[in-house]
């Protein structure tokens, strides 16, 4: 059905072009490079016309067009220099460069039709954080094929780790390990955020293992519900933890949350000699340094994702995802492998949570709702389960929609049609529709991993195997 529609569309397209003297034969006869250039030029032209007609034109639109053209027109991925295939690094390097330089040109961008202005810097920071979380969830859902509906628990755990070890929460303690920018005589644990990030990751991974050990032998759908349960219990502990079990011990400061949390920084000496910001929170361009740090963290996550996926462990995950019985028969230890997936996913969730807490300078129990778990799950599903590029795209796009896109789109719609819709109110309904539509029509996501796509279309042996009887 879909293929027939596409075919007839393409036939109509070529018939139209033939009518104006551009028959298909002439196009096919062109060299590949020229065809790529024409296609790229066409897209850029469409973009520019749309911006000029429906957006807000700025001269920088031409620069954006030029960058898109340069990126799309030559076949960069085929680039080889002295036998080194550096071409495959071109696209990632270009993306990193463009994102890293974003603070320098964000204020001179044109406005795109429908979506409105380009996202603000703070949105980009949050994008990097949610990209980390989505990549973390991708270990569990994408690689190992275990549905985790309580990922927000790991995020909360990371955030509260930052709250405990980089704020004045425990006011009876005095411990300062490399923290930056404290007022003299600050009480509580104050570890440097660079120390807190791995600590949060490890603590969260331990929690992940503790949650995983009893539950991972459950069948997939039961596992999803149990993770959901943990995802509700941990935030409830955070909410009620200001007087834990009537002992008067204030663990989490209850609904007030823990705030303020220290910012990262490199200290005066390093800051002075290496021109790194001494303290992010007092740096002039706060969001930029958080963005650059976030990019580095995402790069580390991507590196771990890619290397782990291709490792022995990663292949074991994929084997379990595709056929648990066959994997077990080939000697893959099910429990251990699944637990590792859980721990790895939890680790990155914890790091992202701690970083987010440091960026927001607070950990509040109201941030940790089931909706966030599904929000992150929607990122993974939309982009493409198991595909790093897809997950990054999904995370960035949905975070953008969440923070700015929906209200921008709503404003644009209301202005053009004179309606009075409150689009952000329907945010989670829109995410629900995204999930349902993607699962029904393109379960492999927008940027699929070919292996996952084959699985979802051809089906796999999906019956679970229990490697241990209960107790």
């Amino acid at each position: 059905m879909r293929r027939r529609v596409v075919q007839s569309l393409s036939r109509a397209w070529w018939a139209g072009l033939g009518a104006v003297g551009l028959p298909r034969e002439r196009w096919d006869a062109l060299p590949v490079t020229r065809r790529r250039a024409v296609k790229a030029g066409l897209w850029v032209a469409i973009f520019l016309v749309l911006v000029a007609l429906f957006g807000v034109w700025k001269i920088s639109a031409l620069a954006v067009g030029a960058v898109i053209f340069v990126l799309l027109a030559p076949a960069w991925d085929r680039l080889t220099i002295r036998g080194w295939r550096i071409g495959k690094w071109f696209a990632p390097a270009a993306v990193i460069a463009i994102v890293a330089a974003y603070p320098y040109y964000v204020n001179s961008m044109p406005e795109v039709p429908l979506f409105g202005p380009f996202p603000q810097l703070s949105t980009l920071v949050v994008m990097t954080i949610f990209t980390m979380m989505a990549l973390g969830l991708n270990f569990v859902v994408g690689y190992a094929g275990l549905l985790d509906l309580g990922y927000v628990a790991f995020y909360a755990m990371g955030a509260y780790m930052a709250g405990w070890f980089a704020s004045s929460q425990f006011s009876k303690q005095h411990l300062n390990i490399g923290a930056i920018g404290l007022y003299p005589g600050a009480t509580g644990f104050h570890f440097s955020i660079w120390l807190v990030l791995p600590m949060a990751g490890i603590a969260t991974a331990v929690v992940g293992v503790l949650i995983g050990l009893p539950t991972l032998r459950l069948r997939g759908d039961y596992l999803a519900i149990v993770t959901l349960g943990f995802g509700e219990i941990l935030p409830q502990i955070a909410r009620n933890g200001d007087n834990l079990f009537g002992t008067g011990f204030n663990l989490t400061n209850g609904t007030g949350g823990i705030t303020p949390i220290d910012g990262p920084g490199f200290g005066n000496w390093l800051g002075h000699h290496l021109h790194l910001p001494a303290n992010f929170l007092t740096a002039g361009d706060l969001d930029s340094v958080f963005l650059w740090t976030g990019i580095v963290l995402v790069l580390i996550t991507v590196f771990c994702s890619a290397r782990l996926r291709d490792s022995r462990l990663g292949r074991a995950w994929i084997a379990i995802r595709e056929d648990e019985v066959a994997a077990a028969a080939m000697g893959v230890p099910l429990m251990r492998t699944k637990t590792w997936a859980y721990a790895t996913g939890a680790f990155f969730g914890g790091v992202a949570g701690a970083y987010y807490a440091s960026y927001k300078s607070g950990a509040f129990p109201d941030d940790f709702f089931f909706q966030i778990s599904v929000f992150i799950l929607a990122m993974v599903i939309l982009g493409g389960m198991g595909n790093i590029w897809g997950v990054i795209f999904g995370a960035c796009f949905l975070t953008y929609l969440d923070r700015e896109g929906l209200s921008n789109i709503g404003t644009q719609i209301n202005n053009s049609f004179g309606t009075n819709l409150d689009v952000p109110k329907y945010e989670f309904g829109i995410f629900g529709i995204i999930i349902v539509v993607v699962m029904l029509f393109r379960p492999e996501g927008l940027i699929p991993s070919s292996r996952r796509a084959a699985e979802l279309h051809e089906g796999v042996h999906d019956e679970p195997l229990y490697d241990a009887e209960i107790a």
């Binding site: 009893p214 539950t215 349960g229 009620n240 799950l377 109110k425 629900g432 089906g459 107790a471």
Partner: protein, 353 residues
């Protein structure tokens, strides 16, 4: 199933070592629970009974929702995540019917009340049943052959969509339902109070439960449902229209959710878009506690959870209080799933759950 046997065989030996630990721990936990209940009982017997009646009433509402989970799980092995939100929609539909259509106010006459109740019940049940059947048709049926997690993920998506439908329809704040039920006491003996509103919840619930049992156990359609739940392929070979049977099951489950929605709206007096999410999870826990796929089990589990919740929220001596209700319910869910996935009444299947 041969793989299961071989995987289990070497572990049987290990089991004997740890087999004392778990029953002992369970017995200890149960003993502590009984002790706690006993002390509370001694401290205020009348109050304890009053609280128990609240628990029974909660349990009746939970039972209707839990049966929906259990019916659907029994036939499709799908956790219908959107079921709780369907129940919430049922509550909103009933609220609209009661207030706007029948124009009920506090202290309406008994005749008007009965008519309005029956009318709202019918409308809510039919509407929710149809919504549930169409959800199955749109979101779950195309994924029948897909990996098991795919329909669960769409169910999560559907749950969000239903919540947003409610937001779009009624807004994000609580809608209040006036206290239309008679509030007097049925009896008040030695401080034990039983009010009419609680009795009415039971009066509506019991016939619905018996009708369901009759439907599943005595009718041809019920036989088809049971056959489909046992083995879909074999049922199809015996000439059962499997798709229609599944649709019918969703219709029934939706109807139960609608009835539960009406009772909830009447008894608790307020509904909000996220009411269904939390209550749905409680009801799912109840279904698992009783043994998912098992109809009497769902009722038993729901009543147990109702009691547990009422005691936790209401008792005075060392009760964790309503701040922890959600955590306690989930802890029960996790413990049951991990240690006794077949539930209280369920039979142990080769699949282990």
């Amino acid at each position: 199933m041969a793989t299961n046997v071989s995987a289990h065989a070497p572990l049987r030996a290990k089991r004997s070592a740890s087999s004392y630990v778990l029953p002992t721990a369970a017995a200890l936990l149960l003993g502590l629970l009984l002790l706690w209940l006993g002390v509370n009982f001694v401290k205020g017997p009348a109050y304890f009974f009053t609280i128990s009646f609240i628990g029974l009433t909660n349990g009746a509402v939970y039972a209707l929702v839990a049966l929906g989970y259990t019916l659907v799980y029994g036939i499709l092995e799908l956790i219908n995540f959107a079921h709780g939100d369907l129940f919430m929609l049922g509550g909103m539909i009933s609220a609209t019917m009661l207030i706007t259509v029948f124009g009920l106010k506090a202290h309406s006459s008994t005749g008007a009340l009965v008519v309005a109740l029956l009318g709202s019940l019918a409308v809510a049940m039919v509407a929710c049943g149809l919504i549930n059947a169409s959800i199955e048709f749109v979101a779950y049926r195309p994924l029948r052959g897909a990996p098991r997690l795919a329909p669960l993920i769409t169910a999560v998506g559907m749950s969000f969509i239903l919540q947003n439908v409610a937001i779009a329809w009624k807004g994000p704040s609580y809608i209040a339902i006036p206290n239309v039920l008679p509030t007097g006491n049925v009896f008040s003996i030695a401080g034990v109070v039983y009010t009419w509103e609680k009795l009415i919840v039971i009066i509506v619930t019991l016939p619905v439960l018996f009708a369901l049992l009759w439907l599943v156990l005595r009718t041809r359609q019920g036989k088809a449902m049971r056959a489909t739940a046992q083995d879909r392929d074999a049922a199809a070979m015996m000439g059962i229209n499997v798709n229609r049977t599944i649709s019918f099951t969703f219709l029934i489950a939706g109807g139960l959710a609608g009835a539960a929605g009406l009772l909830y709206a009447l008894y608790f007096g307020q509904v909000r878009y996220d009411t269904g999410f939390s209550l749905g999870l409680i009801a799912f826990t109840a279904a698992v506690l009783g043994g998912i796929g098992n109809l009497p089990g769902a009722v038993l589990g729901a009543v147990s959870i109702g009691f547990i919740q009422a005691y936790n929220d209401g008792l005075t001596w060392h009760a964790p209080g309503s701040d922890w209700t959600q955590s306690i319910v989930f802890a029960i869910l996790i413990l049951i799933l991990v240690f006794r996935p077949e539930g209280l009444l369920g039979e142990r299947t080769p699949e282990g759950a």
